[in-house]
């Protein structure tokens, strides 16, 4: 997902066009939303990130697959900025009528664990969790660390020497590393908000390891330039059988990068249910399955509107837990 941080200020001019188009439709079809005939007009899907990144790709795919199901257009609106905060502000400024929804991901969610979040869990209603992507520690292909044990040994022998490239302080990456630190694995976290610089730091040998999701570095995995040494999760994955999972080594941390769909709180429950059902059909389609595979998703990612809120809340609790005992 972190792909388009570099262009996050490259705001969505496209958003202007769509906003105008939407205002037009609002004008034509105005009036109170009722669950019975929902949806009567296009539903905007806000992406709080720039075009082209992981969240954007998910949104475009949902829009394409869901439009014929609901019989209404689902225009995607990119509103990048502030680690997702700008796009969320747009969602929270729209009426809670089910005609605005947003892609909500773990990176934005991590802001809620910070000191002055601009929204809280009470402001949003998760409709569905569409993907959960586990994170890994990667090293360069020819790295001297053959396995996680090598890395762990070196980190314990020389605390504060090994460099791990991450998204930044206060991010999910940071939370996961802090759990390792409590287990005595002290590394230097080097924050690169731009994915390009993060990957160069590994390929160029400027950092020793990288915290990332596999789908984002798939080209380097296929090209034999990087390899994983540790998975953050409870169980090993079939596609990386030899890579130990954090839980089996005793690090109780598994913060996946999740991508969900949220609407504003106060949206009628029938509408939320309707959206959730449609999203389930999207989730079950072969095209979506292929997308999940390319992104190295957890095959059991789906959470419907009944379970998504609990999952999202639990994620926040887990993030806070890593901080609290620090």
């Amino acid at each position: 997902m972190k792909l388009l941080h570099s262009t996050r200020s490259v705001a969505g001019r496209f958003a202007v066009f769509l906003a105008i188009a939407l205002c037009g439709t609002l004008f034509l079809f105005g009036g109170k939303a009722t669950a019975a005939g929902y949806p009567e007009r296009p539903i905007e899907l806000i992406v709080p990130w720039g075009p082209g990144g992981g969240a954007d790709q998910l949104a475009r795919l949902i829009s394409k697959l869901m439009e014929p199901m609901l019989g209404q257009g689902i225009p995607v609106v990119n509103v990048p900025g502030g680690t997702g905060a700008t796009g969320m502000a747009k969602l929270l400024a729209s009426p809670p009528d089910g005609y605005s929804m947003a892609i909500y991901i773990a990176d934005s969610h991590a802001l809620l664990a910070g000191k002055t979040p601009r929204w809280t869990m009470d402001d949003i209603t998760p409709v569905a969790v569409m993907m959960k992507v586990p994170s890994f520690i990667f090293v360069k292909q020819d790295s001297p660390f053959k396995t996680w044990a090598d890395f762990e040994k070196e980190a314990k022998a020389n605390p504060g020497k090994l460099k791990v490239a991450t998204l930044g302080f206060g991010s999910v990456d940071d939370f996961s590393l802090s759990v390792l630190a409590k287990a005595g694995i002290n590394v230097v976290q080097v924050p690169f908000s731009k994915p390009s610089e993060r990957y160069v730091s590994i390929l160029g040998g400027h950092a020793d390891a990288l915290y990332e999701q596999a789908g984002d570095v798939a080209q380097f995995l296929n090209g034999k330039q990087m390899r994983p040494i540790l998975l953050f999760g409870e169980k090993r994955l079939d596609r990386f059988k030899d890579i130990p999972a954090s839980y089996e080594l005793g690090y109780k941390v598994a913060l996946p990068q999740f991508r969900s769909i949220v609407v504003r709180s106060g949206t009628p429950p029938e509408i939320v249910k309707k959206l959730s059902d449609a999203l389930k059909k999207v989730y079950d389609s072969p095209e979506y399955k292929k997308f999940m595979e390319d992104q190295y998703c957890d095959p059991n990612s789906w959470e419907d509107s009944a379970h998504a809120p609990a999952f999202v809340k639990q994620q926040l609790e887990d993030m806070k837990k890593t901080l609290a005992t620090n």
Binding site: V10, P51, F169, S196, E197, Q225, D294
Partner: protein
């Protein structure tokens, strides 16, 4: 090598299909328009076009985006030379010699030089890109935060040093720019700075707001002061594009080559891009060029250096994207998105597995450069006519475009007030003889410098000597010091020679 040529020939053939040619044409035209409009940068333009490419196949979409990227580095020169308003950040150096050359009655000549510079710089970097993709990509990997930081410092210091006015004023101007760029949430620790609790300020001040305000609105205010009665440029009847003659070209071939290489190399580095290329190239020319003393008075070298480097940087950035799968600039980051949406991960294996596509893209860059110059050549004549309109009318249009540009950055009405504020600041700077370029450059490069400085400090446990001890970084530092001290050494030498 022959293998590459054969592949490239196939690429050209694929490029000549009606669909690809049409997209190439539209990409070039849209890119030029984006370049011309102040406030709408080429990165935004490419991002704006991305959703339209979802229905196309991957080669077609990259051809469209690549064409926009190339011509976007060229269009801004028109407004810079004709109206003293940079259409893109890369065109700020164009104001010094390009605009001056225009004021001296040779706007067509200045535009002719930019055309040749864009073509030459672009072609050279395209050739380098095709021939040396992989070794260049490997070279780029040896750069890390300390290197990026010292390159940015070189860009910042050279713009301070090359100004004609007071060094102190230029330095103050740059410092104000860097301070403005510090507004907002700090990128490393998330601490709010100068935000006064306002959510708008927490998102920071966009460099575009400062650039469009200080140059666009500021320039209109300056003209307002004289009652829109700036000495009109001598009327040019039947204005034609004046391409430089062979003789003139021969005189500048050395620096032409140098500027293109600088642009290509800087384009290779992630995060640097066309703007730094343009400034650094101008800075080098102003220090080491044959006619360094005349820079800023409307000489051809001052037009070629920034333009050739800016267009050349495109090739460098594309090498990085195609060979490493890592975007080196904002525009290539969007292009990476286009690749991924079609399920293609650029990277070393793409050169092998998708060679036809890669070479079609290479070929489209070559064709695009020629097409861009042909369109530019034809556009110069009607565009120069704009200079015949009453200044007040043109200024009204300029102001409108500035406002549209500012609003489109993030659809925020506060940005409109900000560009007015920065317009007044820019006007004040101009009146008080503080140069504006260091202010704007400070705002653009301040965050990049900060990010890389902080990263260096974190990775090397606060050891600032790494800037000097790492080989590449140390070399750039030494070069920067030479550039800064050169005028003093020359003065001392002149003094010594005079007294001896």
């Amino acid at each position: 090598m022959t293998d590459i040529l054969i592949q490239l020939t196939h690429g050209f053939v694929a490029c000549l299909s009606p669909v690809h040619l049409t997209l190439l044409f539209f990409g070039i035209v849209i890119g030029l328009l984006i370049g011309v409009l102040p406030g709408l940068t080429l990165v935004m333009g490419v991002a704006l076009a991305l959703p339209f490419t979802y229905q196309m196949d991957v080669t077609a979409s990259i051809i469209l985006l690549g064409a926009m990227y190339v011509s976007g580095t060229y269009g801004g020169a028109f407004t810079a030379i004709l109206f003293k308003i940079p259409g893109e950040p890369i065109d700020v150096p164009m104001l010094w010699d390009g605009y001056t050359m225009g004021r001296k009655g040779k706007p067509a000549k200045a535009l002719g030089w930019t055309l040749v510079a864009a073509l030459g710089g672009g072609l050279l970097s395209a050739i380098v890109m095709v021939a040396l993709t992989e070794p260049l990509a490997k070279f780029a990997l040896s750069f890390s935060s300390p290197e990026y930081f010292v390159i940015v410092m070189f860009g910042l210091l050279s713009v301070v040093a090359i100004g004609k006015g007071s060094l102190a004023n230029a330095f103050i101007s740059m410092s104000v720019g860097i301070l403005i760029s510090a507004v907002g949430v700090d990128p490393i620790y998330g601490a709010p700075r100068f935000t006064f609790g306002s959510p708008i300020l927490a998102d920071g001040i966009e460099f575009l707001v400062v650039m469009v305000g200080a140059y666009g609105v500021g320039e209109v205010l300056t003209r307002l002061e004289t009652g829109f009665a700036t000495q009109p440029i001598e009327k040019i009847k039947n204005a034609r594009t004046e391409l430089p003659t062979w003789k003139e070209l021969k005189e500048v071939k050395g620096m032409f080559f140098r500027s293109s290489v600088v642009g290509d190399l800087i384009g290779l580095l992630p995060g640097a891009g066309a703007t730094i290329a343009s400034f650094v190239s101008y800075g080098i020319e102003a220090r080491f060029g044959k006619r360094r003393k005349e820079m800023g008075t409307g000489v051809a070298e001052g037009v070629i250096a920034p333009q050739a480097a800016a267009t050349a940087s495109v090739g460098g950035a594309l090498v990085h994207l195609l060979a490493l799968g890592i975007p080196g600039s904002g525009a290539t980051a969007v292009m990476l998105g286009a690749f991924m949406l079609h399920g293609i991960q650029p990277g070393p294996q793409v050169l092998v597995t998708s060679a036809p596509m890669v070479y079609t893209i290479f070929a489209s860059i070559f064709l695009g450069l020629f097409l861009m110059c042909a369109i530019g050549y034809l556009a110069i004549k009607p565009l120069i006519k704009i200079l015949d309109f009453p200044e007040a009318v043109v200024s009204a249009y300029v102001l409108t475009l500035c406002f549209i540009g500012a609003l489109s950055i993030r659809n925020n009405i506060t940005d409109l007030w900000l560009i007015i504020a920065f317009g007044v600041i820019g006007y004040g700077f101009e009146r008080l003889k503080f140069p504006i370029a260091p202010l704007v450059l400070g705002v653009i490069l301040g965050p990049i410098a900060e990010d890389n400085f902080m990263n260096t400090m974190i990775s090397f446990s606060n050891d600032w000597t790494v800037f000097f001890t790492r080989p590449i970084s140390g070399t750039i530092v030494a070069f920067t010091v030479i550039v800064l001290l050169l005028p003093f050494i020359q003065k001392l030498r002149a003094h010594y020679l005079a007294t001896a």
